[in-house]
């Protein structure tokens, strides 16, 4: 008979290194940021800051103006579009890759991983200058060759949103493909065999076997990707909002908006307050989502 208490103790013992590291490297920064948000740490009080209470939060509320609201909506739309596309495209590609008898599958998979292997900022730079550049980018060069007019890809908000989505998908799909592939591999073939014997079509097999089987496995990766997409800064910033290389697009996610309106002031107390508020916002969102899941 297992003793529940020794069970719990053993569990904590074995998990302790992992939990300890998480506590240090992930939880502590949050706590520290919360602490700084209560101080006046800024350029004028960089090393000698003192606690000032909720001043920064009061001031931060002014950042959440109409601009922030539209950035928030844009970010939600951005996350939904990206996640939907990622899941659908990854699933389709993985299903196709797993067709038996596709002999070059290892080669295809490796080549499709390239975007993931290259450092992100390099890729984004290549996209911005090599592909989307109005004068010399490949896309416009091809359009000219076809006799069409050049397009200013990044200079309007809608167009920039689409281009950022393309780049984000390019960067993120390899990971999703890898996770889904691993998940697909774990499904017991015998389920499919008996389903085929019963005469199920591909669609039915997918709906009733594949998707329920892989959902628990890909769930963690999907959740992490949702948060990562929501917090996405690099893609939007480097493509369209880098000071000195702005493209005229008004598309902001909440992090680029926060960056431009708060983080560049070097007022860490203030920026920390904003980070905490964004964190709480996301917590509320995910808590509500989790509650809906549990009530199903």
């Amino acid at each position: 008979m297992r003793n529940r208490k020794t069970d719990a103790r053993k569990a904590y013992l074995w998990s302790s290194p992992s939990l300890l590291l998480i506590g240090l490297m992930v939880v502590f920064p949050i706590v520290y940021t919360a602490y700084i948000s209560l101080t006046n740490m800024n350029v004028y009080h960089w090393f000698d800051f003192t606690i000032v209470g909720l001043d920064n939060y009061i001031r931060a509320l002014f950042v959440f103006d109409s601009g922030f609201l539209s950035a928030l909506l844009a970010t939600v739309l951005w996350t939904v579009v990206n996640m939907a596309l990622q899941l659908v495209i990854a699933f389709t590609l993985v299903s196709l890759l797993n067709v038996p008898k596709l002999r070059l599958r290892r080669l295809y998979k490796t080549l499709l991983m390239f975007p993931w292997a290259m450092p992100g900022y390099v890729s984004i730079l290549l996209w911005k200058t090599g592909m989307f550049n109005t004068q010399f980018g490949l896309l416009n060069q091809w359009l000219t060759k076809l006799g069409l007019e050049t397009v200013r890809w990044l200079s309007s908000s809608v167009s920039a949103f689409l281009c950022c989505t393309v780049v984000n998908l390019w960067l993120a799909l390899p990971f999703m493909i890898m996770i889904m592939d691993g998940a697909m591999q774990s499904i017991d073939r015998s389920y499919f065999e008996s389903a085929i014997l019963d005469g199920a079509s591909w669609l039915e097999r997918t709906r009733y076997i594949t998707i329920p089987a892989i959902s628990p496995i890909i769930a963690p990766a999907v959740i992490i990707t949702v948060f990562t997409t929501f917090k996405q800064f690099d893609v939007v910033y480097l493509l369209t909002q880098q000071a000195g290389a702005k493209t005229g697009s008004g598309f902001h996610t909440i992090l680029t908006y926060a960056y431009e309106n708060a983080f560049i002031t070097n007022n860490y107390g203030y920026s920390s307050a904003i980070s905490i508020i964004i964190f709480l916002l996301l917590l509320v969102f995910s808590a509500r989502y989790q509650m809906r899941e549990e009530n199903r």
Partner: protein
């Protein structure tokens, strides 16, 4: 069990191995200098210093994201350097953070007399000198002699506009520049007598001047490509698709490598105001961190004295085409013959050093937004300006 033990042993071994990376730098004659400059410049400095102060052991360390690291470790002697070489525009921020030591106490009287006044102005914040200037950069008007003859070189901006109108079209441009980047457009704003921020931290002190500059500049932007970034402008000029441009000295080697017959001319003047386009300049120099000033005062003093000598400036100019801060260097015949260096010295007389106050940090984004709105999104100048001023005041207020 045995496996567990061997695993733990391996971890311990690894820890031991990897932990042996901590260096001990304790000698009073050893100075560590951080920088992010190219090898040629640093090599020249190292050479010159080896001869001038052989008793000091000077270690140059290249550090990317130098400012971010300094913000972290600025007051931590075990992780921070003793000095660092960087542009002057951050001394306000670092001085307020309290990590910089004033330079004046280390220099003899009159050591800086021969330095270009613009560089001393750049290196001072709130009346204290925090940087020893070494060399500076500013923008120059460059043209491709194959397309723009000496006679064509515009002396006024009106002439430039006329030239652009005649020579732009079918994939070619009379003149290109990074029109919506704050650093470059400042030249136009200064030409109208305006400025981005004054010493007290007031953004756009002369509002009308800035709006006039924007309106005027927009006529030129209409004849330039929509992209404002470096790659586009650079490629257009280097491929011979643009006849002239405003760029920094860093463009010269690549222009020569691309076989462009390069000409350098003084900045055109704006007829309406009588002022020439006055670009920003960046002064590169060496700064001292507070604790180094206290603990290694002797060594720092020797180093800084050695760096005020004109020979250092001459070496830099010869090695890498830098424009030295010390005026004496320009009389050296080898330097006198360098067209580029002399052109920069001439421009130094009208150039405006980048403001080094902390408030300037946020102005880059504000001006960038303003320019993008006016030039790329074609919004109304007055409206965009009002929005920019509001944003600037908000951000500056948020800094405290």
């Amino acid at each position: 069990m045995k496996r567990l033990v061997s695993v733990l042993l391996m971890i311990g071994l690894l820890m031991g191995l990897t932990a042996c990376g901590v260096s001990q730098k304790e000698t009073a004659n050893q100075l560590t200098i951080w920088h992010d400059k190219e090898d040629a410049v640093i090599a020249a400095l190292e050479q010159a210093l080896k001869q001038a102060v052989p008793e000091l052991e000077i270690v140059f360390e290249k550090k990317t994201s130098l400012t971010d690291s300094l913000k972290l470790v600025g007051n931590d002697p075990s992780a921070a350097p003793d000095l660092f070489i960087f542009a002057h525009d951050k001394i306000g921020v670092f001085a307020e953070m309290g990590i910089l030591a004033p330079i004046q106490p280390f220099l003899e009287d009159g050591a800086l007399d021969q330095f270009l006044p613009m560089t001393i102005q750049a290196a001072s914040y709130k009346g204290t000198l925090y940087q020893l200037p070494l060399y500076f950069e500013t923008l120059l008007f460059m043209y491709n002699r194959r397309y723009m003859t000496e006679a064509d070189v515009p002396e006024t901006t009106e002439a430039l506009l006329a030239y652009m109108e005649e020579n732009t079209g079918r994939g070619r441009y009379g003149f290109v520049e990074q029109h919506s980047t704050a650093y470059y457009s400042a030249a136009w704003i200064h030409g109208f007598g305006g400025s981005i921020i004054d010493e007290n931290g007031t953004p756009f002190p002369d509002e009308q001047a800035v709006m006039d500059a924007l309106n005027y500049h927009a006529r030129f932007v209409a004849l330039m490509p929509g992209e404002t970034e470096y790659s586009t402008v650079n490629t257009l000029f280097l491929e011979g698709k643009a006849d002239s441009t405003i760029g920094g000295p860093w463009m010269v080697p690549s222009a020569r490598a691309a076989n462009i017959d390069l000409g350098i001319a003084p900045m055109p003047t704006i007829e309406a105001t009588g002022k020439a386009l006055a670009p920003f300049s960046g002064v590169q120099g060496i700064h001292v961190l507070k604790f180094a000033a206290e603990k290694k005062a002797d060594a720092v003093k020797k180093l800084l004295s050695a760096l005020t000598a004109p020979e250092i400036g001459i070496d830099l100019a010869l090695a890498s085409g830098c424009a030295p801060a010390n005026e004496e260097c320009y009389t050296d015949e080898r330097v006198a013959g360098d067209e580029l260096v002399q052109a920069m010295r001439t421009t130094a007389q009208i150039a405006v050093p980048m403001p080094n106050i902390p408030e300037m940090d946020v102005m880059w984004t504000v001006v960038s937004n303003l320019l993008t709105n006016v030039n790329l999104s074609h919004k109304d100048v007055a409206e965009s300006f009002v929005a920019a001023k509001v944003q600037a005041e908000q951000l500056i207020g948020a800094m405290k």
